[in-house]
Subunit: 418 residues, 2 copies
């Protein structure tokens, strides 16, 4: 698939944009179509419709924001049923903080989709991404839905990944094949970022589809667990969207042996593949973080608990002072010490060890006497930075991913609405 730079006009493409993208294979029971219905952007697709076959099971994770968008509230409600038939996603307008009119807009799109796809309201899911607080022109969506039916195709994965983009500079997609209950099953995922990225959740929108036959409660358990190790471990700017949505749909068409519960040992390969796919998508979200020039992996070990380790790692990952130093390729490890100190988790200055690019820069409460900055100058100038912190007091550990804070972040976010 070629990079569609035409969408990106004024936008500088992320240095991490892949030179080629994975071909996502068809998934039996999933058909997709996109269109340009002019919600906000001109000359680019902004609507994705996914038709799911009868019997499709659903799972989802949503933002924990207390000011969640209308589609998020509707999605949470629909999930109680556990089945799904249609997913509608628009970019350009998040339908968040739009009050009653926002709820009404979701209801109208739902009614139209139920009519077109002959399904129940509880089988309808919607996600919207874009500017907050402006009324969603839902008539553009309801007007487009019937016309999209003839365009539905099992092959439109690349177009789908494009249609859900906002400030993303490249589409994000991943695929896996894995054995489950005697059959090979496929998992496809698409996602979009790329600011307002922080747990919980880290992605704004991600959608994953599989032909595996897995009942909704089991699917939910798998998704929650995999999400904790992937999207909930990435941060771009510490901000949490009102619209964050991760949905997983299983059509059951692979015909694998029945799965009884989440502890079924036959699920291990699938669970692993799902986590790996989510992590691939989550890392794309970081790499395409607004203005990102560097991918930063932060590991924390030796903390009082895994949760403490994660909070310390996130404190480092979200520190503007750490992120601006990284943008300048400056090995200012004092700021890492500062971020550990402000995390509020148990720490002992004199037991801290900090490594950058595998080189010990500080230990026992001071700079390592043998450390010379030249040792890591090359690493600091690279695209991928590794920061390892050992707290030295326990066995808790965590890994999180972030990007640097550059001038482009400010440019993008200062001009987002203009």
């Amino acid at each position: 698939m070629r990079r569609r730079a035409i969408f990106l006009s004024a936008m500088q493409v992320s240095p991490f944009a892949p030179t080629s993208y994975p071909e996502l294979p068809p998934i039996d029971g999933v058909r997709l179509a996109t269109s340009s219905c002019g919600i906000r952007y001109k000359e680019r697709t902004d609507l994705l419709v996914v038709e799911l076959c009868e019997g499709t099971q659903a799972a989802g994770v949503f933002t924990r924001s207390l000011t969640a968008s209308a589609p998020v509230l509707a999605g949470r409600k629909a999930l109680k049923d556990g089945s799904a038939r249609v997913l509608v996603i628009n970019s350009g307008n998040s339908n968040a903080f739009t009050g009653k009119s926002g709820v009404h807009a979701v209801e109208q799109v739902c009614a139209s989709a139920c009519d077109v796809f002959k399904c129940k309201p509880s089988q309808f899911y919607m996600a919207s991404t874009g500017v907050i607080g402006e009324k969603l022109p839902y008539e553009k969506i309801t007007g487009a839905l019937p016309q999209l039916v003839p365009a539905l195709s099992e092959k439109s994965w690349g177009n789908a990944a494009h249609a859900i983009m906002t400030t993303d500079t490249y589409p994000k997609m991943a695929t896996r094949k894995v054995m489950l209950g005697g059959k090979q099953v496929t998992i496809n995922g698409i996602a979009k970022g790329s600011g307002m990225i922080a747990p919980d959740m880290a992605t704004m929108l991600a959608f994953v589809f599989t032909d595996a036959a897995i009942p909704s409660p089991v699917l939910q358990s798998l998704l929650t667990k995999a999400n904790d190790k992937s999207f909930n471990c990435v941060t771009v700017d510490g901000d949490t969207s009102t619209s964050d949505t991760l949905l997983l749909f299983a059509t059951g068409k692979a015909g694998n042996a029945a799965i009884k519960n989440a502890s079924d040992p036959s699920l291990s390969g699938f669970a692993e593949a799902l986590e790996s796919l989510l992590k691939e998508l989550a890392l794309h979200v970081v790499k395409d973080g607004e203005g990102a020039e560097k991918l930063v992996t932060i590991t924390v070990t030796g903390a009082a608990s895994d949760n403490a380790a994660k909070r310390i790692a996130m404190s480092i990952a979200n520190s503007p002072l750490v992120k601006t130093a990284l943008a300048a390729s400056d090995a200012n490890w004092g700021r890492i010490v500062m971020a550990v100190g402000k995390a509020g988790e148990q720490a002992d200055r004199d037991k801290l060890t900090i490594k950058i690019g595998g080189v010990v820069v500080a230990k026992n409460g001071e700079a390592d006497p043998s450390y010379r900055e030249e040792q890591i100058t090359g690493h600091m100038k690279g695209r991928e930075i590794l920061i390892e912190t050992d707290v030295g007091i326990g066995s808790g550990k965590a890994t999180v991913w972030t990007c640097d804070l550059t001038h482009r972040y400010i440019d993008i976010n200062g001009s987002y609405r203009t």
Copy 2:
């Protein structure tokens, strides 16, 4: 006092730098001297010594960082005694994360100061600000101390405010006169910022002096309370320094009637003046926040509690998305909604009211139908921005101050060590 732009060479001066500075009057019992001892900066003063008369009482508030600097640890210990005779402050090196050598450096400066000023180690206070993790060349300080004695003067307040600067673009000082126990007393304060500014505490260093006679425990109570309404209500980048220190010294030379305890009604005027002085200094820290172009006042009312209101206000104040929108004079109030939602405090989207520059932009969960962006375009382009959020569910309230996030923040913090 003229602005000493000579110190600021490559630095662009904050647009909020005063055109004139207050003359700080002498305080009986306080003498100051500064020198250039070459710790890091060239051709600028980097050492301040303050001699305090016998009987001076002390109070202090320090960073809550778990990786606090050696001078902070020593200061906490000294405060148990409650008396003070000498304060030594250096800029250019924070003596933080310097292990045993850092502790040794403080001990050496302490021994030298006790010798020169004929006092006990518990009457010695030190504060250091600057780069983290590099050994403090304390010999430069101990070498300079005896030579500073002849230079001690009651009038060197302006020089003192300059000597403690790092990336500050202007010196910060304030003064008050107030009646206490039948006598007029004076309060002088100096402070420095200007990145790594967040509660708790917000300032990196602030020192306040008065000739009032107030015993140490009462002084501590007054300081803690005033700090909560001033320095702990400002944030530049959400980062917390390892060195934050606020000290208050009372020489007792004013000869006011004895103060029994913190609830003594005769203290009300002094308490008010102290809070007002700390707030003036704290606002200077924000106005001189790294790269600041706008001073942003954020009030939250109608929250479940005052603490909840403060957390919501800080969530707005620390959001990079809000701060970059402000830098671009963009009234992107959707990001304020987002920040309220991510604060983790009780909120109800449909009861939120948001005002910018006094104009209602959103209420009842959606944009105010009568709001037109033109109404606040002028306000958004100004130097001072007012954001008011009413949560609509209780009576908790808080006000915090922050600045915008600009390209200059990135420039300053990417090049800090080079």
